[in-house]
């Protein structure tokens, strides 16, 4: 925490002009790719992510297939040009871990038992990273899965809260993530009111945590309706490929 950076003013205005409970501008679109079962594109502030879903398809090699359900494979990957300094395209420790937590955030929503012996692949490509890539990735992945026609209990929506300049704020950007005191991404199935992912980096008091969860719920409600809008738009008008 550096003292030279003022992340939030006395009256609660943040670096990019947002209030503490405001999301960054969000854009979502579904069905952007042709050669996959489902796809989605999301922009959340300067974070830009493309998601492709393949499957359910036959699992190869055969021995990885499960007799009673489909396996979900997720790959979270950052493009070399997604960060200020070139990121090696090889999967890093962080990406392997994020792939796992994203998979575990999506899995509870899917009826995997409807497609035994198959595999469903989710490819999350971060094109530009500006904090909140795992949550934006989850948000986009769940609408890509829905577009692929894979049965789900609910969509999964995610957003982070954090502590910046002593205040609990919604949807951190890069500067707030880097210089703030805490970062807590949360994923939920909003209709069912169930949390599927909660991570915390930094320290929060019990009160701040509760405040954060409430803030997240508010943000997720907004994102959830944008997800539904994007899905509906897929079948009620012209589609543009990105």
């Amino acid at each position: 925490m550096s003292e030279s950076v003022v992340l939030i003013t006395q009256d609660g205005v943040r670096l990019d002009g947002r209030r503490i409970d405001e999301l960054r501008p969000v854009k979502m679109q579904v069905g952007v790719l042709k050669n996959c079962s489902g796809s989605a594109y999301i922009e959340q502030g300067k974070t830009k992510i493309l998601v492709a879903v393949q499957g359910p398809r036959e699992a190869h090699p055969k021995h990885i297939a499960l007799p009673g359900r489909a396996i979900l494979r997720t790959r979270y990957h950052m493009a070399p040009f997604s960060t200020d300094e070139r990121k090696s395209p090889a999967p890093s420790r962080r990406e392997v871990e994020l792939s796992k937590v994203i998979r575990e955030a999506l899995e509870p929503a899917l009826f995997l038992e409807e497609y035994p012996k198959t595999v469903i692949d989710v490819f999350i490509e971060v094109l530009q990273a500006d904090a909140g890539t795992r949550s934006a990735g989850i948000t986009a992945a769940s609408i890509a899965l829905a577009e692929a026609g894979i049965p789900m209990r609910d969509l999964v929506t995610a957003v982070a809260v954090g502590k910046v300049g002593g205040k609990v704020v919604l949807d951190l950007n890069e500067a707030e993530d880097e210089h703030g005191e805490a970062d807590m991404p949360i994923a939920m199935m909003p209709s069912l009111n169930k949390i599927t992912l909660l991570q915390l980096n930094g320290r929060l008091t019990r009160q701040e945590l509760e405040e954060g969860v409430n803030l997240v719920k508010k943000g997720i409600k907004e994102l959830y309706s944008l997800q539904k809008q994007a899905l509906r738009a897929r079948f009620s008008g012209a589609q543009v490929e990105v």
């Binding site: 079962s37 499957g55 036959e58 035994p116 026609g149 049965p151 609910d154 069912l192 997800q227 899905l231």
Partner: protein, 246 residues
């Protein structure tokens, strides 16, 4: 008893469809005592107390008795492996081919090569067994040797066929073509000349694109009229990816 959507509304996974006492149809789950949620993106339907969602997209799940068109992807001693656009690869045993073959003496490659399309019925399929095809049950079954095979979204198949086959009958009559719609979303179009085939493919693609909208039949009739009027050059764009000539 509250229903939150109108007939044919587009719903998304997780949408609360209704509360009360209903029966659960396709793509709907009951949560708790009386809440019903959609599980796929699709159009909402409520008929005779049954809640269901008709999926707009989705994989093809094989069902015993379905008539499907598949593409041969591999050949072994006594059977063909056939891609039927489902998560599960089908096999067509030589013994279920319309012509009597002795796989020991005969090379089955003579009858179907890799890349050939074949029209057949799903004879067996369950949770434990990959789909097995049968091409002996009908005279229509067997290798596809003429015409064009076009891929459409499997979930749109019922709309292209129409109620009791009404749409397909209309098309076959008006277009002077022979269209076969397989349950897995392959459409086989035969016609006297390429113009007739092109017209048919265009109309099928249009029905696919607008399958979830209302008043489709009248729009199809309109399109049939404009296509038939002289001076209109129907053309099919070449990059439709999935269409393959045979």
């Amino acid at each position: 008893m509250t229903v939150y959507f109108k007939h044919r509304d587009i719903v998304t996974p997780g949408d609360l469809l209704a509360r009360g006492r209903f029966r659960v149809g396709a793509n709907v789950v009951k949560v708790g005592e009386d809440s019903y949620y959609a599980t796929v993106l699709g159009s909402f339907e409520l008929q005779n107390g049954v809640l269901s969602v008709r999926a707009l997209r989705g994989p093809y799940m094989p069902r015993k008795g379905d008539r499907v068109i598949g593409m041969v992807v591999d050949i072994s001693m006594g059977s063909w492996s056939v891609d039927i656009r489902s998560p599960y690869e089908a096999t067509l045993p030589a013994g279920r081919f319309p012509v009597r073959i002795n796989p020991v003496l005969d090379d089955i490659r003579k009858y179907l090569k890799v890349g050939d399309y074949v029209y057949a019925e799903i004879a067996e399929f369950d949770r434990f067994r990959a789909p097995v095809l049968d091409a002996t049950a009908s005279r229509e079954f067997g290798p596809i040797k003429q015409g064009v095979v076009v891929a459409i979204e499997p979930t749109r198949v019922p709309r292209v066929i129409g109620r009791n086959g009404s749409m397909i009958k209309l098309l076959n009559k008006e277009l002077n073509a022979n269209i076969v719609v397989a349950q897995n979303g392959y459409v086989w179009v035969r016609g006297n000349d390429s113009t007739a085939i092109n017209r048919a493919v265009r109309i099928v693609k249009m029905i696919e694109a607008e399958a979830h909208t209302q008043g489709l039949t009248s729009r199809v009739e309109e399109m049939l009229k404009t296509l038939k009027s002289p001076g209109v050059q129907p053309s099919v764009s070449g990059e439709e990816g999935n269409s393959g000539g045979v």
